[in-house]
């Protein structure tokens, strides 16, 4: 097991509250989670990364393996392989995890609409049928269980049009909506993104009780903080978030977000990542020579 993977455990607050093990993939600043029901030993994986070197286009599964090892070492049973959205900055590990464990995968149902956008960019009109690639496609308000823990699904568009938030008791897996209070919010300028929708999605998350825990999808550290962090509370976000704290208006947030997004370069894995993530993290079918190839559209962005 790689020992250099940075992880931190957030303890359960009692019945109905999960223990959350967060672990960090430093190349993409991705925060990945094991969400555990202590009562039954059942758990779910959320947003686990398939590492991808954007120079050589090689892939690795160190973090996914770390998670499986953690589950085995702690005598846990994996029940769900969950993603919140088709990420633009890393490949998802869902298919690999499913192949290893046989456990069901899930993502939001509106990923079908995201696939429509990307079929056009890649000129692959028949690609990315979402239904056969994921075992469950969740809609707003759907519920399911991890052991005895009840999970509810919130549609949280903005960063993508089909992002979903998993709410497990007092734990909110907010992915790329909020970032840590000292980092603000996620960008909303990818295809199908919307700063206005992002604001509304964040407000719904912040409607939850002040002491609920928020687990974000990315952290890159800050100028004054080297170590990654990913956990905050609703109350902390409401008062301290640098993009939203103290009651920033929707109009001001949208102006700030759009102004900032206009200055950001695209993530260096985006063109590669979508065609993999819309396939559940699987590579395209091999060509007759036995190798898989990604497509990289030129001058579409």
């Amino acid at each position: 097991m790689p020992t250099d993977i940075y992880s931190k455990t957030s303890a359960s607050r009692g019945p109905g509250s999960p223990t959350v093990v967060g672990f960090h993939e430093p190349d993409t600043g991705s925060c990945q989670y094991i969400c555990i029901d202590d009562a039954t030993g059942k758990c779910a994986l959320i947003d686990v990364v398939q590492q991808f070197d954007p120079k050589s286009f090689g892939t690795r599964f160190d973090h996914a393996q770390w998670a499986l090892d953690y589950i085995a070492d702690h005598g846990l049973t994996l029940e769900w392989i969950l993603d919140t959205h088709p990420h633009a900055d890393h490949f998802i590990a869902a298919a690999w995890l499913k192949d290893k464990t046989g456990v069901q995968t899930a993502i939001g149902e509106k990923v079908r609409d995201i696939a429509v956008l990307w079929r056009d960019y890649y000129n692959l009109p028949d690609a990315f049928p979402i239904d056969p690639h994921f075992d469950h496609l969740f809609a707003e308000g759907d519920t399911f269980r991890i052991g005895d823990l009840e999970v509810s699904v919130m549609l949280s568009p903005g960063h993508t049009l089909g992002s979903i938030t998993y709410v497990v008791g007092d734990a909110v897996f907010a992915h790329d909506t909020l970032m840590q209070p000292d980092a603000g919010s996620s960008r909303a300028d990818f295809p199908g993104g919307s700063a206005s929708e992002l604001y509304d999605s964040i407000m719904r998350i912040l409607d939850r009780p002040d002491d609920h825990r928020i687990f974000v999808g990315h952290d890159y550290g800050t100028k004054t903080r080297d170590l990654p962090s990913w956990e905050s509370t609703v109350g902390e976000q409401k008062t301290q978030n640098i993009h939203l704290g103290g009651g920033v208006s929707k109009a001001d947030f949208v102006a700030l977000r759009e102004g900032r997004d206009a200055t950001l370069a695209l993530p260096n894995r985006m063109l590669a990542a979508l065609q993999v993530n819309l396939r559940d993290g699987r590579m395209p079918d091999p060509e007759p020579d036995g190798h898989s190839y990604l497509k990289m559209p030129v001058n579409k962005f």
């Binding site: 954007p54 120079k55 050589s56 286009f57 090689g58 892939t59 000129n123 370069a265 695209l266 993530p267 260096n268 894995r269 985006m270 063109l271 590669a272 590579m283 060509e287 007759p288 020579d289 190798h291 898989s292 190839y293 990604l294 497509k295 990289m296 559209p297 030129v298 001058n299 579409k300 962005f301």
Partner: protein, 294 residues
């Protein structure tokens, strides 16, 4: 050994254009006695994350050629670059000129045709280029005679181009404090590179050498011009009688520690087509990325 038609009496005007994104140096080489010129190792700009191609670097060179009122006769590639994309067809469309590269391009096309699983429509016969140079071939730029020296090692198709008292060394030598080019790409060979460098160092000591790359080692400013004499005396990898065996050991060990160049995948696909961007079956410009292929 080939007898090369060295003529130190011709001093071409050489203007360098440095591309900070890839640390490449492109050149305009002008005949002082006519309006003829050549461009060597041009660069097309790419925002790799966005897949966006632009032409600021090439436009600056085109504007300079037009400003001097020059006729572009040759667009020369020293080799199929792995770290930047060539702008040769873009420049040719605007200024004319013939695109030339070493005849061993066919070996490179064959190797990377396989890596990218190219279909039969991708010709592996060098026909995308207007001229294929063999060792010792000569050509004219106005009244100047240029010739090519076959210098494999970094790639199997590398050529050094010598025009009067100026030699364009491609990726063989770097500046004396930079050493030599890597040899670990498919078809590369440290042994071949040593022999090729010896061919360059057999040119007259006063021959001006123009680098294709400089990374400003040890924090110094970017430089691209030196001489054969300087390289023989001071090159940190091959100077002062370092043996071939030592060089090969050193080069092989060093290459094992190097990352793939950031732009290797788009560079090879575009450059083996003489700078043309590949298209999918519907004609959309589309690069192809082999997973775990390099």
């Amino acid at each position: 050994m080939t007898q090369y038609p060295v003529n130190m009496d011709i001093t071409p005007v050489v203007e360098a254009f440095f591309d900070p994104a890839t640390n490449t140096i492109s050149y305009i080489v002008k005949d002082p006695t006519s309006d003829a010129c050549a461009i060597i190792d041009s660069v097309m700009d790419i925002d790799y994350a966005a897949g966006r191609i632009t032409y600021d670097h090439a436009d600056a060179m085109i504007a300079r050629v037009q400003q001097m009122g020059c006729r572009l006769e040759w667009i020369i590639e020293t080799h199929v670059h792995a770290d930047h994309l060539s702008a040769a067809p873009y420049i040719q469309e605007r200024l004319g000129g013939k695109i030339g590269i070493g005849s061993k391009i066919m070996v490179v096309q064959d190797t990377f045709g396989k890596v990218f699983n190219e279909g039969t429509e991708f010709q592996r016969d060098g026909s995308q280029f207007d001229a294929l140079f063999d060792d010792g071939d000569t050509y004219q730029i106005g009244n100047m005679q240029g010739f090519s020296i076959y210098t494999p090692g970094h790639t199997p198709a590398c050529m050094v181009h010598v025009i009067g008292n100026a030699a364009f060394v491609g990726d063989t030598l770097f500046m004396p404090d930079g050493g030599s080019a890597r040899c670990d790409f498919p078809g590369g060979s440290a042994e071949d590179l040593y022999d090729s460098i010896m061919k360059v160092l057999a040119l007259p000591d006063a021959m001006r050498l123009f680098m294709c790359h400089d990374y400003g080692p040890n924090g110094r400013d970017i430089q691209w011009e030196t001489t054969v004499g300087e390289e023989k005396e001071h090159n940190i990898h091959v100077g002062r009688g370092r043996t071939k065996a030592d060089f090969i050991t050193f080069r092989t060990e060093r290459d094992a520690q190097l990352d793939m160049p950031r732009l290797i995948i788009p560079s090879l696909q575009v450059n083996m087509r003489a700078g043309a961007v590949p298209t999918d079956s519907d004609g959309n410009p589309m690069l192809k990325v082999p997973i775990n292929g390099l």
